[in-house]
Amino acid sequence: MRREVPLIITAIFGSFMVIEYFVPHPSVTGFGEMLQQWAIIVVAFAYVLGVANIVRINGEKISKRSKDWPYAFPLLAGLGFMLTVGVVFGVGNGTLFSDFYLYAYAPMSGTMFSLLAFFIASAAFRAFRIRTLEAGLLAVAAVIVMLGRVPVGTEIWDKLPVISDWIMNAPQMAAKRAILIGAALGAISTGLKVILGIERNYLGGD
């Protein structure tokens, strides 16, 4: 029964959410909105599990002096600190919690994001090495598109932006839409498999 009950619940509520898309009746849409609110409440409880996971794994690491245990200490200290600041002083705009988020976390997050620029350069260097005909086509198309998007491209040849736009709007867009259609059909069939209980690995054990 540990598997059958979740499967039945998934089938009923999964089917309901499909039906809701086609039925604009207030009783149906209202119930659908209520279900989504339930989901938000259930997800909120999951944070307790998340915090418990962090504390258990990193706490054990510190107590056993496992490899790299010093890294666990600032992690737990940061978690405890932000939790305390949030509970004691509140979490709205202008609070201490908000200040730490904006002036400590946000710059660190921005630093991680900025790494992307360097990684794009290194990845592009590898991608544009011409070893095969396909790689050659890719490199030529990329050079045209890049030059077509900057003023110097127009200075070199005024038709470059036109060719660049054609590459983006015709072959690139066609390939992208083909992948998108395939992915969308895959997602729908996966949804069907979950609703019908054909895919059930995600439910875990009996």
Binding site: F16, V18, V43, L116, L180, G186
Partner: protein, 314 residues
């Protein structure tokens, strides 16, 4: 009648019970325009009193009949091929190199005595890619357990933690090695995108897993993860349906599952008839979409717009 057919009948009944038998539906489709039929949701949201009589009459949005027909056709094709597969008909599935490479990557990690890193994306369970990533994780856990290789699963969303724990535990149990399951390897890092990215990068650089599997929904962190993994020399397999991230994975990973290939993983790896049936149903739906595109292009060329207008989703 098997369980799948019972569930199908219930689901179909639920679907059509709400659509059929409503006189208003016929009236809605014949007499009035969609704008007249549908309730004014903006006024309702703003707290304005809506007309209960007109709302009670609307049980079907006629503007979405096109989607209903297409989804109905898709469901029919999927169930038809499931039925064929279950009855023993052999269905061909082309070789997907990225999926075949998963076992190779795990084997390599085993030979090197290092861990396998599995990142199930950064989205929550309301994204179908995350759910499907859990399904693939179950298969990967079984393979890993068979070789007794450590499996590290960093998780970005708290709600995914119990799912990942249960899935991996079940995989080890199915492989007959429940004692090898280490709950400390299912690690919740952070809900924040780049805090999670930094955490996974740290795991890759400190613990140096031999195989990195990035399967799920990824966003701007995809290239940061894949390039860091590349710098550690790990064999990398990625799969996502987020098409904007695919070029990054293609460049930085050894194998990439592109869009639909990602959703074919369990059918391909397990060869389970019902799963292969859904795959064939999707393939035939693609044939239908291609046919519709060709017909639409021809009709539009000759100035006939009814077909494309009917297919437009509102």
């Amino acid at each position: 009648m098997n369980r799948v057919e019972c569930l199908l009948i219930i689901a179909t009944f639920l679907l059509f019970a709400s659509l059929a038998g409503t006189p208003a539906m016929a009236r809605a489709e014949s007499d009035a325009s969609p704008e007249e039929i549908l309730p004014d949701t903006t006024s309702a949201q703003a707290g304005a009193p809506a007309d209960p009589a007109s709302q009670a009459a609307v049980w079907f949005d006629p503007r979405r009949v096109n989607l209903l027909v297409i989804i109905g056709l898709f469901f029919f094709l999927v169930l038809l091929f499931i039925r064929k597969a279950v009855r023993g008909r052999s269905l061909y599935v082309r070789k997907i190199t990225g999926l075949s490479a998963i076992e190779e990557a795990i084997g390599r990690a085993t030979e090197m005595g290092k861990a396998v890193l599995y990142v199930p994306g950064i989205d929550d369970v309301n994204n179908i890619q995350t759910i499907y990533s859990m399904v693939i994780l179950g298969t990967v856990a079984k393979l890993v357990a068979r070789y007794e290789t450590p499996l590290i699963v960093p998780v970005c969303k708290a709600f995914v933690v119990p799912l990942a724990e249960e899935t991996v535990k079940q995989g080890y149990l199915d492989a007959g090695h429940p004692d090898a399951y280490n709950p400390d390897n299912i690690r919740y890092l952070s809900d924040e995108q780049f805090a999670f990215t930094a955490g996974v990068d740290g795991i890759m650089l400190r613990e140096k897993p031999a195989a990195n599997l990035f399967l799920g929904s990824f966003f701007a962190e995809s290239l940061i993860l894949a390039e860091t993994g590349f710098s550690t020399g790990a064999i990398q397999i990625a799969g996502t349906a987020n098409i904007h991230q695919l070029p990054f994975f293609v460049v930085a990973c050894d194998y990439t599952l592109i869009g639909e290939e990602f959703f074919a993983a369990t059918a391909y790896l397990s060869d389970e008839p019902k799963l292969v049936g859904t795959l064939k149903g999707s393939d035939w739906m693609k044939v239908f979409v291609m046919g519709a595109l060709i017909v639409g292009a021809i009709l539009e060329t000759f100035g006939v717009t009814a077909f494309t207008r009917w297919l437009t989703v509102q």
